[in-house]
Structures are given as structure tokens and as C-alpha cells.
Amino acid sequence: MKFNIWGKISIVLSCAAMMMVAHSAVAEMKKKSELERRMADPRNSKYTVGDKKSGYVYMTTMTRDMQDDDFSNPAFVWVDIGKRNWSKVDGKAGKSCASCHKDASSMKGVMAKYPVYDKKLKKMVALQAKINMHRKEKMGAKPWKWESDDMNGMAAFIGLQSRGMPMNVSISGPAKKFYDKGKAFYYERRGLLDMACKHCHIDNAEKMARSNLLSWGMPNGFPTFRLKWQKIGSLHRRFAGCNKQIRAKPFKRGSPEYTNLELYLKHRANGLPVETPSVRN
């Protein structure tokens, strides 16, 4: 009798163990299929160069559809602002962007090579900083705030001219020093959680962080319309958000730290097509 009870218990236990194994196998299959399903999209080939993958590859189908159609892409509301500002006269000099640069198509390739080294300032200059330098020096106008609609719109409008071109950021000559600083920032632990950028975007890339599929952190689509923000935002806003999440004090937009990090990341994305203005989750 005693033997029978133990026999029954062992049968029940072994059944439960089998069910648990089966259950985790199903969960494993589901997890795999989520990554695989996104990887199987034929549109990915355009956004994969060698072993580099743009953030586009990790988006859901709906987000990709939104980006691919220029009308449903909400970032174009800001592109329109940039387009109108391009020929709007502002400042003491009575000039607009179009007075010197003529048609906006002259900006082709600009987004692909920024940030660049400035000989006068002896440091790296991001596109937004360059726009403000020209506004101040050439136009005599008030500089725009980094995260304002005007600035994001202009950056997105200039970026749009080089859409599809491969990223081509140079780190030769004096820029090398700043590249190394940016790289050090990327691998440096910071904040209360004591994490570096690389812990998510290199070590755990292509894995799930809660419901999010972690990407390689490629900056080729900025300024991007982020669904979480419900508006367009700069790359430096994204850096600040990342820093806050690991409970570190974020740096200011346009600070040398973030500009160096931008240089490192953009050089890392060399070869990937410019996607500005992209849509991300």
C-alpha cells in the first residue's frame, strides 16, 4: 500500500516535470519566433550592411510601415517646419538659409558626415551646433534651443536630403582624440545601476529587455520620431534618456561628452544608410 502511494506520487511528479519542460520549450519557441519574425522581413536587406544592423531591423511591422510611408510618418510635420524655415529671412543680416545655400539639395550628404572637426573651436561640432553657429555668425539671428521644434525640424529637413546615402563619418586627424573619448564613454560604467552603454547594446543586443527588443544602438535615423515621446527628438535626447534609465545624471544637449559619443556611434554606423527621419518605438 505504502509503495503504491509513493508510486503514484512519483508518477504525478514526473508528469509535472514533463509539463514544465514542455512549457518552457513553448516559451522558448515563442521568444525565438519574435526575433526571427522581425528578422525575416525582406525589407531588412536594405538596412543590414555586413554585420551592422540598423534599429529598423528590430521594429515591429507596424512601425516599419509608418516609416516607409512619407505621409503616415509623423516626423514629416517637423520636416515641413524645417522646409518653411529654410527660406524664411531671420536676424539682423536679413538672410535666410536659402540666401547662401540656395536649394536645400545642396545639403546632400551633410547628415552622413556629421559631426565634423571645427578648426576654430578645436572640437567636434554636431549638426545642431553648426546650424546655430551659422544663425549667430552669418544671419545675426537668435540661436534655436537644441530640442525646439525649429531645430529638430531643420535637422530633420537637412537630414532628409541625404536619406539613403551610406553613413561616412571620418575620424582621421584631430578627430581621433575625440573618437577615443566617445568610445571610452561608451564602455564606462556610470550611474546607480553601474552600467555602461555597451552592457545593453553590445552584450545583450538582440535580446529582450522586458517587452523591448534591444538593438545595436545605431544612430543613423536621428532626429527620429519616437512613439514613446509622441514627437521628434534629437540623438542627445536619447542619450539623456538612456543615462536617466541607469540612474546617472544626464549631460546637457550639445555638451562635448555627448558630441564625442555621437562621433563614436556614428562612425560605428558607417556604411548603414541615413534614415532620417525614422520612426522608432
Binding site: 505621409f71 503616415s72 509623423p74 514629416f76 510635420v77 517637423w78 515641413d80 517646419i81 518653411r84 524655415n85 524664411k88 521644434d149 525649429d150 525640424g153 512613439l227 509622441q230 514627437k231
Partner: protein, 106 residues
């Protein structure tokens, strides 16, 4: 600089053709449930969108909270004559933003 609504209407169509119209209105769409510095941010959404063709209503919608920012609507309509589409978005403050597009029917 103020944001303008984006509207896409084909410039010409055949008589009786069913055309697609796309609209996107930039708006932050505050739900009234979000808090900023401990205080509720008052509700501020677009609550009405109307599309008219030559003065006659062809499409309209009432909106409620939980619709995302920059609401996007696309709809189909049949055109039988040349004319003007007029679009209007009204928000909680009673401010109305308008846009219009012309279409020629051959």
C-alpha cells in the same frame, strides 16, 4: 514656428472614382490623466474632425482621450464633380485649424 496639418488629396480624378484621402493633424493630445510635478495636466485634445466637399459633409469623427498624439485619419470618398475639400479640426479650447485642397474631376 507653428505646425500645420498634413493633407493628401489627389489633384485629379475620374468621374465617380473612389479616392483615398489622408490627413494628419499635429497636436499633443493631452489626456487629462498625466501628472507633471504632482499636478494633473488638464485635458487638451482635438475632439472633432470634419471633412467637407463643396460644403457638404463627407466624413466626421468625435475624438476622445486615449487617441495618440498627431492623430492620423484616412478615408475613402467618391467624387462626381470638381471642387474643394475643406478639413477642420476643433480642440478643447474651441480653436479650429483649417485646411483645404482642390480636386479636378475629368
Amino acid at each position: 514656428m507653428a505646425k500645420k496639418p498634413r493633407v493628401k488629396v489627389p489633384s485629379s480624378a475620374k468621374k465617380g472614382e473612389v479616392i483615398q484621402i489622408k490627413t494628419l493633424a499635429p497636436h499633443k493630445m493631452e489626456t487629462g490623466r498625466r501628472k507633471s510635478k504632482g499636478k494633473l495636466v488638464p485635458r487638451m485634445i482635438i475632439n472633432k474632425f470634419v471633412a467637407k466637399f463643396n460644403g457638404k459633409e463627407v466624413f466626421s469623427t468625435d475624438m476622445h482621450p486615449a487617441i495618440s498624439a498627431n492623430p492620423y485619419f484616412s478615408f475613402y470618398t467618391k467624387v462626381s464633380e470638381s471642387g474643394t475639400f475643406e478639413f477642420s479640426w476643433t480642440d478643447d479650447k474651441g480653436k479650429t485649424v483649417k485646411a483645404s485642397r482642390k480636386i479636378t474631376v475629368k
